[in-house]
Amino acid sequence: MDWFTQVLVVAVLVGGIGVYLSSTAGRLDRLHHRLETTFAALDAQLLRRGAAAQELASSGLLDPAASLVLAEAAQGALAADPDDESRRSVVESELTRAIGAVLATREDADEVRASAGPDLALANQLLDELAVGCRRVGLARRFHNDVVRSTLQLRRKRVVRWFRLAGHTPIPTTSDFDDTPPAGLSTI
């Protein structure tokens, strides 16, 4: 091989590595970007669910004991710092359990409507809002965790670690809490 071919081979090699690195970095960047979006979406849905639970609790449509249980859990969830993942998973699971305890069966939801009397429209609206909130929390958490898993997979690659392609972006964690929708609101 003459010197020209040698230079050419090296140049192609370096160029190839460069393209690979930059495309990996681009992928990682896009994933990090999606992470922010899905995290914000999850946060928004949790707020929506918490607010819906809080509103139902203070509506006067539930008995006072159920109101207290739901209000306590909703306030805990609304007050939690979204960046404190372990704390959030505790309070959101607690809210899920509280909603599940208050609306354990279809009959419980029917009873809220039946006893609402002239406030039936309000009861329907609050229950629907809570049902939507519960379902969307489940979806948003799943979508977020999918992106977290893809990101983690990519970040585990040697090339990403050796070339520090992730920069200073913190390692994402999956959001793990119980988001089972209550049986009482299952088929709306």
Binding site: P64, A65, L68, A73
Partner: protein
């Protein structure tokens, strides 16, 4: 008098409120009154004759701890039916700020209502936020009782107003007059501790730290420990010369507890705080066992500032050791404490405590009005529906 009592927590689980309600009910029956207790029950078989179930309890988080309670439409219907069938002269709800049948009963009833506050708790955010809803129920309470100064303070801070202080009772007839556990108390001096072994505010570690010093003066001294917790783990964390002196019983039955009290020369209560009342101290005194306790406020008041039991400076193992050695040395002082302890415990006998509670009942029932159902705050539509559903319940 026909008395309806409401206990908010799972009847089958052990707990201070449940024990209080049970003993109060028994004492009121002994005094010739007709008592019915409404409580969440997991298992409706084998209940005492005076207990009616408000439904199966569900576990919820409230005010930083887990509670097994009932609420919702099924419980509300059961509360109403119980109120109708009971035809009570007075309704007595316990711990009405808990999210359970106590507040449901206040909500569903009118007439003479008495409420007892047991715990001291932090100000609850939920309670503050739900105040308008809760208030409708709680403002129907005609008389309020607090079982301790701490509980009374909580009530005053959260709700305003005041409360009558009526302490917990102890069933003196159930204590004393039993055989000690085999091999106890022995000659070398025996101490007794009861409480969760791994909960720091129960203070077992303070006592264990004092034990080597006590052993220097009384080489034969032994310690009997009753209470739940991981015994193996706890034992393995102790030095060998201590382990040899300590006998762990684990969680004990009422009967073994009574026998354990008379198996020791001294009952030691090294609790470091968080006690609102010292019911165990009264049980020890009723058993005739001299008491040595930390000088926290609740214990000082039960022990009448040291007159009927010895005190040591809280969380101070050396002071505990000093006081324990002094008591072990002095047989006549132990005999005096035993005698005075028994008569002190009698002041808190359930029969006497129940009479105080009855005075409160009498004060609120002077008008002769009975307890009846109340539908204010709920919609009339519920009335007919509630009646219909009741028959299929």
């Amino acid at each position: 008098m026909k008395i309806g009592i409401v206990c908010p927590y799972d009847w089958s689980a052990p707990g201070g409120v449940q024990v209080h309600v049970r003993d109060l009910a028994v004492a009121l029956e002994r005094l010739g009154h007709q008592v019915s207790v409404l409580a969440p029950c997991d298992d409706e078989a084998d209940l005492q004759h005076f207990v009616v179930s408000s439904g199966r309890p569900v576990s919820v988080s409230y005010n930083g701890s887990k509670a097994k309670v009932t609420f919702g439409p099924v419980s509300t219907r059961r509360v109403r039916r119980w109120l109708r069938e009971g035809d009570f002269d007075v309704l007595h709800v316990h711990e009405p700020a808990s999210p359970s049948v106590s507040i449901l009963s206040c909500w569903s009833a009118r007439g003479p209502i008495v409420a007892t506050w047991h715990s001291s708790m932090e100000r609850s955010r939920a309670l503050a936020a739900m105040y308008s809803i809760v208030q409708t129920a709680l403002e129907k309470v005609s008389a309020r009782i607090a079982v301790s100064e701490a509980a009374r303070q909580t009530l005053v801070e959260h709700m305003g107003g005041d409360a009558v202080l009526i302490p917990n009772g102890v069933d003196c007839s159930a204590f004393g007059g039993v055989e000690p556990l085999p091999g106890w108390p022995g000659e070398g001096g025996a101490l007794f501790f009861i409480g969760r072994i791994d909960e720091s505010r129960k203070g077992l570690s303070v006592l264990l730290e004092a034990l080597p010093t006590i052993a220097k003066a009384h080489p034969g001294v032994r310690l009997l420990v009753a209470g739940p917790g991981d015994i193996e783990e706890f034992r393995s964390s102790l030095p060998a010369d201590i382990v040899a002196r300590v006998d762990f019983l684990g969680l004990v039955s009422e009967e073994v507890k009574r026998r354990a009290f008379v198996s020791a020369d001294i009952y030691v209560a090294p609790n470091t705080g968080g006690e609102s009342f010292g019911i165990v101290l009264l049980e020890a005194m009723a058993s005739g066992t001299p008491v040595l306790a930390s000088d926290i406020e609740a214990f000082r008041s039960v022990l009448d500032d040291g007159r009927v039991g010895a005190l040591f400076s809280n969380e101070d193992p050396q002071d505990l050791a000093r006081a324990a050695i002094a008591l072990l040395d002095d047989t006549s002082e132990r005999a005096r404490l035993s005698r005075d302890g028994v008569s002190r415990a009698r002041e808190f006998d359930w029969e006497i405590v129940a009479r105080h509670v009855l005075e409160v009942y009498e004060a609120v029932t002077v008008s002769g009005e009975k307890v009846s159902e109340d539908f204010r705050g709920q919609l009339v539509g519920r009335l007919s529906r509630g009646d219909r559903d009741d028959r299929n319940d």
